[in-house]
């Protein structure tokens, strides 16, 4: 397994460059999942989007936005965690969180890539989209925010941030002989971690972090505006959409980060770099965001049942007691239980990583459910003219593509872990 050993003096840290059987198993599964997704997308491309469960709203009684758009919103939401945590660490000097900073940034980049991919998959003419979205960009469309701010600006600045904060490690690794040394030389790009360079990089990342935080609010809000500004869709039009998007983005992102951090800690035995303090901090942050979001949910339900208009009532009934009730209450439970559990751990000060991982996974299921409920019901049940009520059930092709997206994400993270330390290396004390 470790052929390289004889040729280098010292193995690279954190299993970088050494491919274990376990890694091959994970990558094999992820590759299989990605392949299923690619097949699904090819079928969709070949037949047209008739292969999906989506249909036209109105006389066709369908939903023209479905699982794909839900996943766009979800993945862009997950990206929240990384860069927020990274920026907070940088701005407030949270030393004990340094261990999760890089994986958080990686999570942001991967999630944004998946979100962008999901947008392209959802387009009827993906190639035209890649050209026309930039060539004929219209800032008046809320989609402009999603494409240009989220996918371009946000992704680009996150990549720059990830790169800048990884350069010291690249320089350190480039100093040692290894198979991957040429890569680290290019990665470091002349950076040698001198005090001068370090000071400059710290200055740049500080201002970048400061610039990214507002960009983040704008980007996630713009995704909420895609729905919240549509007066013709009961259930969408509302002031709460943008802030709720930001908060739920944080919930799913932090949840993901907890799961990833626990995995890395376990697999790489990084117990001292990713300490309990990091988990406690993330757990408290997640709890706070969950309670804010649950407050939004209560406000939403109350507004929907107190004195709704006829059209709002149709959506509210479908959500609370009708066709979508299982998904709605299931999602609420998947968000409420972790909130209570985290609160219990916070009160008793007994944090259990196992439970936190379960909660992190659960809130993500809840987040996916809530995203779906924002997208679908307002189309099937939200017609203002007397069209009959519609239905939407995702097709196998859509499920395959979504599986492919998740698998691709796992593949990207597993690949990164074998090229570069996912936990920031300890600073060499001179």
């Amino acid at each position: 397994m470790t052929v390289a050993h004889s040729r280098v003096n010292e193995p690279l840290p954190q299993g970088v460059g050494r491919l274990s059987r376990r890694w091959f198993l994970v990558v094999g599964l992820a590759t299989a999942g990605t392949a299923i997704g690619v097949v699904g997308w090819l079928v969709e491309h070949e037949q047209g989007m008739v292969a999906t469960g989506m249909r036209d709203v109105g006389t066709m009684g369908g939903a023209t936005w479905g699982l794909y758009i839900s996943m766009v919103v979800y993945f862009v939401g997950v990206s929240f965690a990384g860069i927020t945590v990274a920026a907070l660490i940088r701005l407030f000097n949270l030393e004990h969180l340094k261990g999760v900073a890089r994986m958080a940034e990686l999570l942001t980049v991967v999630a944004l890539l998946l979100g962008a991919l999901a947008i392209v998959i959802d387009l009827g003419q993906p190639l035209r989209g890649l050209v026309n979205l930039f060539r004929y960009a219209r800032p008046q469309s809320p989609f402009f925010g999603t494409f240009s701010l989220v996918v371009s600006g946000y992704l680009f600045s996150s990549l720059v941030y990830l790169y800048l904060t990884s350069r010291p490690d690249a320089a350190r690794l480039a100093a040692k002989p290894s198979k991957l040394r040429p890569l680290y030389r290019v990665w470091a790009a002349g950076y040698e971690d001198t005090p001068d360079q370090r000071a400059r990089d710290r200055r740049v990342t500080f201002w970048l972090a400061l610039a990214i935080l507002p960009l983040l609010i704008v980007a996630h809000s713009s995704l909420g505006f895609v729905f919240g500004l549509q007066v013709g869709r009961p259930g969408w039009f509302g002031t709460l959409q943008a802030p709720a998007f930001v908060v739920l983005a944080g919930v799913s992102g932090i949840g993901h980060l907890i799961v990833l951090a626990a995995l890395v800690r376990r697999v790489l035995h990084e117990e001292h770099r990713i300490g309990m303090e990091a988990f406690t901090w993330l757990g408290r942050f997640l709890m706070l965001l969950l309670f804010v979001y649950l407050y939004f949910v209560v406000v939403e339900i109350f507004t929907a049942i107190y004195q709704p208009t006829v059209n709002e009532q149709r959506i509210g009934d479908a959500l609370l007691t009708g066709e979508y009730a299982p998904v709605f209450w299931g999602s609420v439970a998947a968000l409420a239980l972790p909130a209570v559990g985290l609160a219990w751990m916070a009160v008793t000060r007994r944090w259990r990583i196992g439970w936190m991982v379960a909660f992190g996974a659960l809130v993500n299921l809840g987040a996916i459910g809530k995203r779906f409920l924002i997208v679908a019901p307002s189309q099937t049940h939200g017609q203002l003219l007397p069209y009959p009520v519609g239905t939407y059930t995702p097709s196998l092709v859509e499920y395959a593509v979504v599986l492919g997206l998740f698998s691709l994400g796992a593949l990207l993270i597993a690949g990164f872990m074998k090229l570069f330390p996912i936990v920031e290396m300890e600073e060499a004390t001179p």
């Binding site: 047209g48 036209d56 387009l123 009827g124």
Partner: protein, 248 residues
């Protein structure tokens, strides 16, 4: 300036749906796609029920939500009031469809050559081909491949490309030749009228003069170009008597 509009006389409409058929034939719209749709609505409880009919073309709004949200400017409003789709530019994100409160947009879910389903008639049979001249339906108006308007954009007809949004064009290819939209031309009881509302002496202006009228979902501020006279907006208790037609 010209400003096209449509007037729908609900006193006259008898729900025959000749306009729906005319639209399908003129624009070759795919299966389950109805650029022109006529609601047949039932209101009240038996035995006190009432049937009403409500034709619903694209409303060609003057403050069109679909135009606002299009991320690439494929959906646009012409100077003469027509709201059209540039089929060459549309990327198929379907944002216009979710933004439209009237449900008039239709997506090309299938490849164009499969859009009309399977014909049961053997058109390649030599005997039949000698009669049809080898043409296979849907017979398509060649004007649909022309570019229209001062902008010269591909905006008329349907099923040009897979994965592109389409909707009622007010028959731009006919209007530009001085003809009426197919639905208006076909209506056997003149329930539909079309013309230039800026011109005080046009038939539609004279028809609308001194008549009470309403627009669909006026409260949304979309300001539709389709004006209804001789009836009431559909009440929230109105029931469509048809099921959704899903088989694209």
């Amino acid at each position: 300036m010209t400003r096209y509009a449509m007037a729908v006389d609900l006193n006259r409409c008898q729900g025959c749906r000749a306009c729906v058929e005319a639209c399908k034939i003129e624009n070759n719209t795919p299966n389950a796609v109805f650029w022109m749709h006529v609601f047949r609505l039932e209101e009240g409880e038996f035995p006190n029920t009432k049937m009403t009919f409500l034709p619903r073309p694209c409303q060609h709004c003057n403050n069109a939500p679909c135009v606002k949200v299009c991320p690439v400017g494929a959906r646009y409003k012409r100077e003469d009031g027509l709201v059209l789709t540039d089929f060459d530019r549309c990327i198929g994100c379907r944002y216009c469809e979710v933004a439209c409160p009237y449900g008039v947009n239709f997506f090309n879910w299938r490849n164009p050559e499969e859009a009309w389903g399977e014909y049961q008639i053997p058109f390649d049979d030599p005997d039949l081909a000698s009669v049809t001249g080898g043409a296979v339906p849907p017979y398509k108006n060649p004007d649909h491949d022309l570019r229209h308007g001062p902008e010269q954009r591909l905006t008329s007809g349907s099923a040009h490309f897979k994965g592109v949004i389409e909707k009622c064009t007010f028959c731009v290819h006919r209007v530009e030749q001085g003809m009426l939209p197919a639905c208006v031309d076909t209506c056997p009881v003149q329930a539909l009228r079309f013309g230039d509302v800026e011109d005080e002496d046009s038939p539609i202006s004279r028809f609308l003069r001194d008549k009470e009228s309403f627009q669909l979902l006026e409260e949304l501020g979309t300001d539709p170009s389709v004006v209804y006279v001789g009836g009431n907006p559909p009440s929230s208790h109105a029931r469509e008597i048809e099921r959704p037609l899903t088989g694209v």
